[in-house]
């Protein structure tokens, strides 16, 4: 017979890690479903391949460390799904597998597993493949093509280690109107063309699988926030600061800078703000800290988009804020009730 000894308080809460994670997976399912409906078989294969690699990597390291399996806490599943949603839908599967392995192995397990990781594992995986395969990660295929449920994009089954084939000819066969092969952010940056809010909401833009369903992402976020599985203040701070920064720039020069709506709906900002910035292990815990953390992400995202070499900045903004999180926590510790403030006389 084994006895479990615990220190007080002996309160039992039903909010276990497994339960929260399970609900996050649940709230991501509509986003996945939408991306599969939009991009068809290629997006589905990518989702499955990346998630499977993440789970296999976690299991492999569990076994190597003689630890019990940690697949049951669902966190590796979330990493896999989120990572797949940030990749282009026709991303070669072998590159997706590399991303999944790096995400779990370098982003999470080497730091000591769930709760010990400094950075969001999914974004570590994406950052690695973005630095490794800059061409493949900016190759886009059109949404809602006619044959999306009957054939894969030619890049999906690229032979491992080989360059993915050119998709230009295949895209022409798809008979999709006005496909430019560039994301709305790239078109804004290089051609000064902005997409309308309706384009984003209907999914009629070129983007990563998870970047085109703002309403579903927000709905998932509201569900999680309502069940208190997620800190809504971080999401509000990210979106609010990004919108405010964009609004200030538009005030200064409306001809050059896009509207706050465009900034909020384009790219991965929505997915990042709802599902990635709110990662419990890598965000601050103090009441003031979460606002600062969210604001840093929002402002840095807009700054990278406007002044950086890259078209999208959410990933680096969140990784940057992840690195700042311990510092933010340190300087925003609330005063203990009744304790004297340091350096101040009573």
């Amino acid at each position: 017979m084994s006895m479990e000894l615990r220190t007080s308080p002996h309160l039992v809460s039903d909010r276990s890690v497994e339960r929260i994670m399970k609900h996050v997976v649940l709230s991501l399912l509509p986003v996945c479903a939408f991306s599969v409906w939009q991009y068809g078989l290629s997006a589905l294969a990518l989702l499955l391949a990346v998630t499977a690699t993440c789970l296999a990597t976690e299991r492999l390291f569990n076994r190597a460390a003689d630890q019990p399996s940690t697949l049951g806490d669902w966190s590796a599943t979330i990493t896999g799904v989120l990572l797949a949603l940030t990749l282009p839908p026709a991303f070669p599967l072998w590159m997706g597998a590399v991303a999944g392995f790096v995400a779990i192995a370098i982003g999470k397990v080497l730091f000591g597993g769930l709760g010990c990781n400094v950075f969001n594992p999914a974004l570590i995986g994406r950052a690695f493949v973005q630095a490794s395969f800059p061409a493949a990660i900016t190759t886009w295929v059109p949404a809602f093509s006619a044959q999306r449920f009957t054939e894969f994009a030619p890049t999906t089954f690229t032979v491992p280690l080989m360059i993915p084939p050119d998709v230009a000819d295949w895209v022409k066969q798809q008979a999709v109107d006005a496909f430019t092969g560039a994301t709305p952010l790239a078109r804004w940056k290089f051609e000064n063309v902005t997409a309308s809010a309706w384009d984003f909401l209907s999914g009629a833009v070129t983007a990563s699988a998870g970047e085109t369903s703002a309403i579903l992402i927000l709905a998932g976020g509201i569900y999680l926030a309502a069940r208190k599985f997620m800190d809504w203040r971080i999401t509000v701070a990210v979106l609010g600061s990004a919108a405010l920064t964009a609004w200030l720039f538009q005030m200064v020069d409306p001809s050059h800078y896009p509207s706050p709506t465009f900034v909020l709906l384009s790219g991965g900002l929505m997915l990042g703000a709802v599902f990635m910035a709110t990662d419990m292990a890598t965000s601050p815990v103090t009441p003031l800290g979460v606002w600062i953390y969210g604001a840093v992400i929002g402002v840095v995202t807009v700054m990278i988009r406007y002044f950086g070499g890259l078209t999208e900045g959410v990933m680096y903004a969140i990784l940057f804020a992840n690195a700042m999180a311990p510092l933010i926590d340190k300087y925003t510790q609330p005063r203990v009730f009744g304790a004297r403030q340091q350096g101040k006389k009573q």
């Binding site: 590159m95 370098i106 630095a131 490794s132 395969f133 800059p134 493949a136 280690l161 080989m162 993915p164």
Partner: protein
């Protein structure tokens, strides 16, 4: 030279193998990281750097060991640096004459062998306390260990970053290069991976005193 030296235990196989395995400069001591990170984008660069460093290391240790009873303790570090710098200048000119392409690829890191901590470390910790032959054998082991380390990094980075090894194409011309591997972050990833593997091979637990659960 007739003074008895208590460190003089004769030359064993371990005198040589110390640098290759037990005290490998790259994987165990983690010394000389500047050239390790900077020049290992290809296997040939790594090996050239390793050989250049080995030459300086062996020659300096020989000279330091020969004059170990003549140099006053107070000025020994300055003396070592002058000796090392002399051999580095030799290597610098030699490589420039041998292959200008290699000279340009290695860049300032040839001159920077002067400040490589492995060499000064060996001179101070070993050569200045041991007879010439033993110092040379030990320095050679360290040099070989360093070269192996540089080759291990350079090889992996060249294979993944360019699909080649020693300039020979391995996977055909359709190979997708992993751009990150020839960039500085790639050096850190590969070094981290090798350190992890080495720790596994040597059977040393990653953390002293066991794990913390929970």
């Amino acid at each position: 030279m007739s003074l008895p030296n208590k460190n003089d235990e004769g030359i064993t196989f371990d005198t040589f193998m110390e640098g290759v395995w037990r005290q490998n400069p790259v994987f165990v001591m983690v010394l000389g990281m500047c050239p390790v990170m900077a020049v290992t984008v290809s296997a040939i660069n790594g090996i050239s750097m390793g050989i250049a460093t080995t030459f300086v290391l062996v020659s300096s240790c020989l000279l330091v060991s020969l004059i170990r009873h003549l140099v006053p303790k107070e000025v020994r570090i300055a003396t070592y640096i002058v000796i090392i710098a002399t051999f580095v200048t030799l290597v610098d000119y030699f490589i420039q004459a041998l292959s200008l392409a290699l000279y340009e690829a290695l860049g300032a890191f040839i001159q920077l062998i002067v400040v490589n901590c492995i060499i000064l470390g060996r001179a101070e910790a070993h050569a200045s306390k041991n007879p010439p032959l033993k110092a040379v054998v030990n320095a050679l082991g360290m040099g070989v260990g360093f070269t192996i380390g540089l080759f291990a990094l350079g090889g992996v980075r060249e294979i993944l970053g360019a699909g080649k090894l020693f300039g020979v194409t391995l996977f055909g011309d359709q190979f997708q290069p992993w751009v990150v591997m020839v960039l500085p972050p790639g050096g850190f990833f590969v070094l981290g991976g090798w350190l992890l593997l080495f720790a596994l091979f040597r059977g040393k637990p990653a953390t002293e005193g066991g794990h913390t659960h929970g």
